[in-house]
Symmetry: C2
Subunit: 91 residues, 2 copies
């Protein structure tokens, strides 16, 4: 179920580092170098597979931007915030 | 050294699947699923580390877009096309 605007604001408040961007939510993670960035992407990919929910992932040398959105619902859902929080735990 | 417009066109002609996009060159690779896309990213990342030349990498579920550009030269160089060709060999 799609979250309402108020629910999204509430949940953003408890999801460190993530912000509204376009239709979804996203966070930029910064690492020492490309190698560390790719290592993080592999950990995030594991989380994504476990949750069967796949963020867009942009690697630009030592930064990784994750963006998440529930395509099947055409909006943001609990699943998006669950993924965001789980990813925050592996940084 | 930055390549000229004519050199870029020549090299694009011999670099399957890559096209001019923005300032750089890029190619979209499509896979069966997210897992295979991530596996490819790991192989491409190895090539990037070996060549010390790092493309931007965008993973969107089962597709991966690589984009490359030589920031230090402010343009496209032989290094960009060398990376593109090497990545083409690992698909």
């Amino acid at each position: 179920m799609r979250l309402t605007y108020e629910q999204i604001l509430d949940k953003l408040g408890e999801t460190v580092g993530w912000e509204r961007r376009g239709d979804g939510i996203s966070r930029v993670f910064k690492f020492r170098d490309f190698k560390e960035a790719v290592a993080f992407v592999n950990k995030a990919a594991e989380v994504a597979e476990e949750m069967d929910h796949h963020p867009d992932i942009l690697i630009t040398y030592n930064t990784v931007q994750l963006s998440v959105f529930t395509h099947s619902e055409g909006g943001l859902t609990d699943k998006d915030f669950a993924l965001a929080k789980k990813v925050n735990q592996i940084v």
